[in-house]
Amino acid sequence: MSWETVIGLEVHVQINTKTKAFCGCSTEFGADPNSQTCPVCLGMPGQLPVLNMEAARKSVLTGLAINGTINLESKFDRKNYFYPDLPKGYQITQFPVPIVELGHLDIPVGDGEKRIGITRIHMEEDAGKSMHEGLDGVSHIDLNRSGVPLMEIVSEPDMRNADEAIAYLKQLHQLILFLGVSGANMEKGQFRCDANVSVHQPGTPLGTRSELKNMNSFRFIKQAIDYEVNRQIELIEDGGEVAQETRLYDSVKGETRPMRSKEEAHDYRYFPEPDLPPLRISQQEVEAIKAGMPELPGQLRARFESEFGLSSYDADVLTQTRELAGWYESLVAAHPADPKRCANWLANELLGRLKEMETDVADSPVSAHKLAGLLDRIADNTISGKSAKDVLDAMMASGDDADAIIEAKGLKQVSDSGAIDEMILKVMADNPQQLEQFRAGKDKLMGFFVGQVMKASRGQANPAMVNQRLKELLKA
């Protein structure tokens, strides 16, 4: 039997506003428990929400970036359920009329692209956190996160395997970072994904889906989906039926298992939030937000290819984050002569070293300006590309300028044609036999002479000049 997997994703993105969605409390991560709360986000009697418009504007920006339709009037609703970290006993969210509808994201699949539909983006507030572990039978509640604004981005069930799901998530994650609407740090819970997964045989109706939760890295999401797909197929092939349920991913055991039914037997009793009038945004405001749209990854890639002549691979690598792309542009600005050399040195040399140091360009010990200084020395033949790598190592370690290191290590390349000629003539004089053979037609010996000259210069002779002068002098 052949099976087709159908995956739809719901991504919760914490919007990086300074204050919460409906009150003035700070959204800073990692503060002392309950230190960032007020009567509104504690759900005290008589307290009322007032929308943080910055959260709405960032949602609109995201909606525009996915080519979505912006609803100029959207509505808030209450989603009712009891849980100790949900102070009001309901979550303010958007149900029938979200702020954004009908967008899409193109993801790379194989050599081509695939368009993944985005059903909607709605705004809502986050809940607090409950802590049960190691508290000796009691639970603690931290409401610092209560009321932090979220966007829930809901995709169409357009993905057919875990790889497509991951490609979509990475694309979305990158977009969110470029837009600057969220820190999107998965470990801090700023980018959380739930996956709806089902299997069916092509040409037959869709299968029953299960909703996977509790996956806080791309790796775990892939593992959870793969596990769940196999589980469902085996279950059906053994004559069983998939239950519509919520399943939690256990990253230790690498499996999904159902939540206790009590926890999910919810009728959320959605109804319009009477404390908030409809959210109205004018077409002018939308245009203003659109005008402030930063360059998106796709646009940036295309520009890097056309403006700097980069390969699509390099353009892709250098546009992974807005910071990296910006770093590259600073590098090119400081070393405008050769954007390709900039790309090679950034993508192949600097990023590799940063990865080993487990850091990124934002914390690079070598600034774009200093790396440009090193590239300048390669360009003017002060050093060879080979020794430049050693210089970069030293720069990474000390943070010093390329020039200082070249000077200190005596790595300056010999590009003086007189000095090079002198060395060549000496090598010719010392190796008369080889010279005779070369002149008799044994061209292979060219390499021998290059090696001898480089050896004589202790590696500091400019190899291009050595080649050039050798060709002339040997034939003379």
Partner: protein, 496 residues
């Protein structure tokens, strides 16, 4: 003096004939003498009241008088105040102290008023008789066997018996106007959005509105002027609401050219015949003042009660979810687990009427029933709003009875919630339409054990509180109903 109006007390204060401290003492004495019989106040802190009064007198001498300088104002137990408990007359909030003032409380303080205790009410404002209060029923000063109406029954009884010169109430389906009518005082529910709801414990958010309960129309204008206005902390308080000249509106002495709508749906068989006759007589008086009475129809009136008892409980079912025993309020002893804590805390904390409404609302919102109940009720609400818009094409204001019946006996309807719900039949549509409504005394009918007051309700287009006040002021000026006082309350403080 105790039955004096707010305006007269203000004049006496301004003239230096009395002081805030003296007024506070007079009314505190009256509370001491009569509250046991009425149970109008559920919390009163004499030291705090006298301290405010002293501060007010000091402010007056140092900086001059503010709008309500030195005037004692009682507030319903639904308004959060930093001083003293705010319990909404519910066991689930027993001992709750809010760390903040409601916006209108801040406004009263800024106007120089002396906050004068917390008044009794139906639990979470759910009731029409003040009988669902966790602190016991409040009694009607005109007949202590009778209810004062509700849910703002304590505020109504306090003003009617002159235990305070004025009070704040809230009105979700008639909770200011109906008790005002049943106790013979004046009460105004402003246009929805005119007064901030922030810090007022929510019952039904799309209907709740705070307003005034006073002895006269001018007093009501004074008090509403002090509390009305935009609050950036309440997204439903309207920023660009048309202004009303509250006090100037009360100068009207005639009704020349005024077109008063008389909706046939509010004069029906089944209502108390003497109440009907009293209101008809009031309309005849209006005609004498120059008004033209126009028969109109508000055709969807009969669906108002049903729609209200879907919408209000639905909103309440969510608004009351925060009383879960987790952060504040009542928590049961020794819960077995989370579910046990929720169910027992709420079971022990809420009274039966509140539970009934939470259940009704949860049911109406639940999957599979939402369209038939909540959605349908919202559609009815739209029709009711349209009824009024159509009517105000033809008339300036609408006049109706406030309540179909006078005050009834305590306990008479407690076992029959549906009949109880019908006592709001004439006030509910105003809330559903978000309009301003005012009730003023228009006569008395014979009840068991003496006379009972009857209320005349005025309804105006949104933001036209001035139209209500002008009509009511003209009627009040031509009649003596506000001068009538209940017997037995003229002893303590009477000498002042």
């Amino acid at each position: 003096m105790p039955f004096s109006t707010l305006s007269k007390l203000k004049n006496r204060l301004d003239a230096g004939e009395t002081s805030a401290v003296e007024l506070a003492r007079i009314y505190l004495d009256r509370v001491a003498a009569h509250n046991d019989a009425l149970n109008a106040f559920v919390h009163i802190d004499a030291d705090y009241i006298l301290a405010q009064a002293e501060a007010s007198d000091a402010h007056r001498s140092a900086h001059g008088a503010r709008a309500l300088e030195g005037l004692p104002i009682a507030v319903k137990d639904i308004f959060c105040t930093q001083n003293g408990p705010t319990q909404c007359c519910s066991n689930i909030l027993k001992g709750f102290h809010a760390p903040y003032d409601a916006h209108v409380i801040t406004r009263l303080k800024e106007a120089g008023a002396v906050l004068f205790g917390k008044t009794n009410m139906d639990e979470f404002a759910m009731g029409s008789s003040n009988e669902t209060s966790a602190f016991g029923p409040c009694r009607n000063p005109w007949n202590s066997d009778c209810i004062p109406g509700g849910s703002s029954g304590g505020s109504a009884a306090a003003v009617a018996a002159a235990l305070a010169p004025a009070a704040l109430g809230t009105d979700t389906g008639g909770s200011i106007r109906q008790p005002a009518a049943l106790t013979g005082i004046t009460g105004l529910k402003p246009t929805y959005g005119r007064v901030s709801r922030r810090g007022i414990i929510a019952f039904a958010s799309s209907l709740d509105q705070a307003g005034s309960m006073t002895r006269t129309v001018r007093d009501t204008a004074m008090l509403c002027e002090a509390i009305a206005g935009h609050d950036a902390g309440d997204a439903t308080s309207v920023a660009d609401a048309p202004a009303t000249d509250w006090l100037a509106a009360c100068d009207k002495t005639d009704m020349l050219g005024l077109k008063i709508g008389r909706p046939k749906e509010y004069f029906v068989d089944g209502m108390d015949a003497s109440v009907r006759a009293t209101v008809e007589a009031a309309l005849a008086e209006c005609e004498k003042l120059g008004a033209e009475i126009v028969d109109i129809s508000l055709p969807h009136t009969e669906y108002a009660v049903a729609a209200y008892y879907v919408i209000a409980p639905s909103e309440a079912s969510a608004n009351l979810s925060r009383y879960d025993g987790v952060r504040f309020g009542h928590r049961c002893d020794n819960p077995d687990d989370l579910l046990d804590m929720y169910t027992r805390s709420r079971d022990e904390g809420f009274g039966s009427e509140v539970k009934r409404r939470i259940l009704t609302g949860s049911f109406a919102l639940s999957s599979g029933y939402y369209d038939a109940y909540y959605k349908k009720a919202q559609q009815v609400r739209t029709l009711i709003r349209q009824d009024f818009l159509d009517a105000f094409e033809k008339v300036d204001v609408i006049a109706t009875p406030t309540s179909p019946i006078p005050a009834f006996k305590i306990g008479e309807k407690t076992d029959d919630p549906l009949t109880m719900y019908l006592s709001d039949i004439f006030t509910i549509a105003v809330n559903l339409a978000g309009l301003p409504g005012l009730s003023q005394p228009c006569g008395f009918v014979d009840g068991e054990g003496g006379e009972l007051p009857v209320g005349l309700q005025w309804i105006a287009p949104a933001w036209r509180e001035d139209a209500l006040l002008s009509a009511a002021a003209a009627y009040e000026g031509a009649t003596d109903w506000t001068k009538k006082t209940p017997v037995g309350f003229d002893l303590a403080g009477g000498a002042a």
